[in-house]
């Protein structure tokens, strides 16, 4: 009895890998684009916060634009600039998503600063981690965690009011915040790994069905075969 050739088997496996890579790249690019929009929205939001809550600085009767407004415009622009550039030029690249993760955490830091260290603004960190998990890549979460932890440690030591809203927090306050980030990450990392596993399983399921079709095709007599070869067989012949 005629058997499916080893080259046909290899081709099926190769196509499964290609399908997986295509789907993964599509996911990465669409997540990049989502963050591209978010970078712009956060910038506008930060300027809005600064303008509404602290539009002017006063020195006696002299009025000037508050430094928060300039911080939102200039620092916000700087934070969003690089990821926006990379999303436009290198969508789906490893560097792009790590820069996006860093920028997103810097946005958390800036928004916390602009709101005077409001505890509610710290929720932005957790929301961001959840959105970053959309990449289904745990190293992205690691990068984000390092950036936000570094910001909390440095700013907590040098300018605690900016991050906690009080001038004399306990020295270990950053550990409490980091602990909750690790708690969230523990579940998000599992979800990322599970998501990638499911994506691979779908690609492999397609390969299995393709292998069955190949087997049926090989076993069938010439008279039983349709006039045209299956599309994948024709594609395989071209390769």
């Amino acid at each position: 009895m005629k058997e499916v050739s080893e080259s046909a088997v290899q081709a099926i496996v190769r196509r499964a890998q290609e399908r997986f890579e295509v789907e993964r790249r599509r996911l990465l690019i669409s997540t990049d684009r989502l963050f591209g929009a978010l970078m712009v929205v956060q910038w506008i939001f930060a300027i809005g916060i600064a303008v509404v809550f602290s539009p002017y600085a006063w020195e006696g009767r002299e009025r000037a634009v508050h430094p928060h407004v300039w911080t939102a415009v200039l620092l916000g622009g700087a934070i969003s600039g690089l990821p926006l550039l990379l999303i436009a030029l290198r969508p789906g690249a490893v560097l792009t998503r790590h820069v996006v993760a860093s920028a997103q955490m810097l946005w958390s830091a800036l928004l916390i600063h602009l709101t005077g260290g409001r505890i509610e603004t710290h929720f932005h960190v957790f929301a961001s981690l959840g959105i970053l998990a959309g990449y289904r890549s745990w190293p992205v979460l690691a990068t984000a965690t390092v950036v936000v932890a570094g910001d909390h440690i440095v700013r907590g030591l040098l300018w605690p009011e900016s991050v906690y809203g009080i001038v004399n927090p306990e020295w270990w306050r950053f550990l409490e915040h980091a602990g909750w980030v690790v708690f969230a990450n523990a579940f998000l990392v599992v979800q990322c790994l599970r998501g990638m596993r499911d994506m691979r399983a779908i690609a492999e399921r397609g390969a299995e069905l393709e292998a069955l079709a190949e087997n049926e095709w090989t076993k069938s007599s010439v008279l039983e075969r349709p006039a045209e070869e299956p599309a994948y067989a024709a594609a395989d012949a071209r390769n």
């Binding site: 058997e3 499916v4 046909a8 088997v9 290899q10 099926i12 496996v13 499964a16 399983a201 492999e204 399921r205 390969a207 299995e208 069905l209 292998a211 069955l212 190949e214 087997n215 090989t218 076993k219």
Partner: protein
């Protein structure tokens, strides 16, 4: 007719619970989970070579139905 239960669909979200493989004339029995964990290349070899038979609750099921799963 209601939705198929996990038991009816077999283990690991598959339409089978065991698979019998014939490799080099030797027969071996695999659970659905073991079959899914097999390297893709080996899985494709046995499927393309028609060297696997799927079972659900002891009854043979067509390969296409077995692999459809959830």
């Amino acid at each position: 007719m209601g939705a198929p239960t996990q038991n009816a669909l077999g283990a690991a979200g598959s339409g089978f619970d065991t698979a019998t493989l014939v490799v080099d004339g030797r027969e071996s029995r695999w659970s659905a989970e073991q079959f899914r964990k097999m390297p893709l290349l080996d899985r494709i070899r046995v499927l393309a070579g028609g060297r696997v038979v799927f079972f659900r609750n002891g009854a043979e099921v067509p390969a296409r139905e077995a692999l459809r799963g959830l």
